[in-house]
């Protein structure tokens, strides 16, 4: 599975959304992406990509698209 598929799968499994819906997601755009869901997503991504995000990056991780940019700082190309 390539990195993009892994990235989408993290959203699908964390928020129970379809793979088609994942790219448009933003924090609080769906009920599941609340403060608890946010940490669940971060934990899922850290597990999938074997990285540990800094607190500033966790706070800055506000959307599907922004998340890709943040992961690139950790040498994860999505």
């Amino acid at each position: 599975m390539d990195n993009y598929s892994k990235y989408v799968t993290a959203y699908v499994e964390t928020f129970a959304v379809s793979a088609d819906d994942a790219p448009g997601l933003r924090y609080q755009s769906i009920p599941a992406w609340d403060s608890v869901g946010h940490m669940a997503l971060i934990a899922a991504l850290e597990g999938v990509f074997s990285v540990e995000l800094d607190i500033d990056d966790i706070i800055d991780f506000s959307s599907f698209e922004r998340g890709k940019e943040i992961l690139s700082k950790y040498a994860v190309v999505v």
Partner: protein, 162 residues
Amino acid sequence: MEQQSTVQSPSSLDIKDIIRHQRNRYPVLLVDKIIELTPGKSAVGIKCFTYNEWFFPGHFDDEPNVPGFVQIESLVQTFIMTFLCMDEYSGQKTNFVSINNIRFRRKIVPGDVLRIEASLKTLSRGIAIGCATSTVDGAEACSAEFVVALPAVLEKYKPRSA
């Protein structure tokens, strides 16, 4: 005048200590004392059930036994003491995120004393993961795995803007 704890060991908590550390109150404070405590790792709790419990008349009048949700609350309230006993988390509210692999092995009836052994697997960024198992007279009664959130901690990590 504030009353002092009745327990002698720093590794155990009486009901006043529990009330100081966690936010559950009657009728949903469902652990009586903590008899063993390793902060950040594990706790052993005791819950005594008498016929005077508020739920027995309704569950059921002809066959009183402890409802499953009460058993789960007893487990998780022991579990959360593994970290609410720590200064940085003491007194915080907690929320369930998920409960997994629940097993009910036997009925719990008036007169039973529940011994609950809980362990904290991880606590990171306001998310606590662990499990608990209860026994009555050495026989397993109930077990479950928990993911519990500390909303006040999560607040520090939520995105500034959507």
